[in-house]
Amino acid sequence: MSDTAEFETFMRNYQNMVFSTAYRLTANHAEAQDIAQETFLKAYERFDGLRENPAAGGWLKTVATNLSLNHLSRYKKRWSFFSDLRRQDDDGDEGTAFEARIAAPESRESETASQEDTRALLDEALAKLPHDQRAALVLYHFHDMPYQDIAEKLKVSLAKVKTDIMRGRDALKRRLAGRMSELELHA
């Protein structure tokens, strides 16, 4: 098998994980794709060391996480003003509609929402969190990072990390009101 074909197989094995890592931090499809692409380009540069390495997945996840956090910090500096405006709009309009969908499942066509539906809603709720809360929450819950490490990674105080995670969780629970029992059922 040629190097390129082998690398293509390598990408197929990890593309969903890398894309998910980037998407859950950035909550933006196009940006997550760019970050995933950059991650794989870095992987290609050191493919000789990665192809047989069982830690390749961890390496890719770390690179995708760091690239996403770098992206978020650049983005935050440039566009936080507009982003905050947009987020407030989201909470005001789309957020209400979203909560209405969750809080009144009987208004949906199917009253027995599937496990996939609940998962999709959880992903959607996660994507709707403000950047700070989402990044802290994702690093805590998906990457098993302690608060102190998250604070260092995000270059914020420990107190802010704890507050962001708590608020993020509360927001998710609010948005998933009425579905928490389903989460338990699927546990």
């Binding site: 390129t4 690398f7 293509e8 990408m11 197929r12 593309q15 969903n16 994980m17 890398v18 894309f19 998910s20 998407y23 859950r24 909550a27 933006n28 499809h29 196009a30 940006e31 794709q33 995933a36 692409q37 794989f40 380009l41 290609y44 566009w79 003003f81 507009f82 982003s83 405006l85 947009r86 609940t118 998962r119 959880l122 992903d123 996660l126 929450l137 805590y140 819950h141 998906f142 098993d144 990072m145 302690p146 608060y147 708590m166 969780r169 998710l172 629970k173 998933l176 928490m180 989460l183 338990e184 699927h186 546990a187």
Partner: protein, 167 residues
């Protein structure tokens, strides 16, 4: 290990944590792998093109190592020569001729700097006089406001467009 979850809401937090951990990976877009492969091909083509380019037409950072070392040594020698120029001139007896040349060059530069100072001084004075006019102040305020308004509109449009690209 993570800090334990707050006891007040321990159960629902634990449920949420478990639900988040069980979330499956999202499906990567179909265009991801072709995009990476295209970028790799483009890089390899650029590297091949660079390899075909003669060294003197490449950026200094892409010169052969030997040439880069030679350039570094030359630059260091030049700096050393400049640092010890007075001593060298004194040794070779060419100090006064060089000094005369440098003095002439310095005089030319001084004259040029003086002319620029005068020009900018005149412009500044003219601005100070006109700045007291309410029309000029108003115009400046309009220009400044338009600049920030356009920046804001551009940013808002960019954000909206980028949000719309979300799947």
């Amino acid at each position: 290990m993570n800090t334990p979850l707050p006891p007040s809401d321990d159960r629902s937090d634990a449920r949420l944590h478990a639900a988040l951990r069980r979330l499956p990976d999202l499906q990567a877009p179909d265009t991801l792998i072709p995009g990476v492969l295209a970028a790799i091909r483009a890089r390899e083509q650029a590297a091949a093109a660079l390899a075909r380019t003669p060294w003197y037409r490449r950026p200094v950072t892409r010169w052969p190592a030997g040439l880069r070392i030679a350039l570094g040594l030359f630059a260091a020698g030049l700096l050393a020569a400049l640092a010890f120029a007075p001593e060298l001139f004194a040794l070779t007896g060419t100090g006064s001729a060089v000094q005369a040349t440098l003095t002439r060059a310095w005089d030319t530069l001084s004259a040029l700097a003086g002319a620029l100072r005068t020009l900018f001084g005149a412009c500044g004075a003219a601005l100070r006089v006109s700045a007291s006019s309410p029309y000029v102040l108003g115009g400046a305020a309009v220009v400044l406001f338009s600049y920030f308004a356009l920046l804001g509109i551009g940013g808002a449009v960019w954000r909206t467009a980028s949000q719309a690209r979300r799947s």
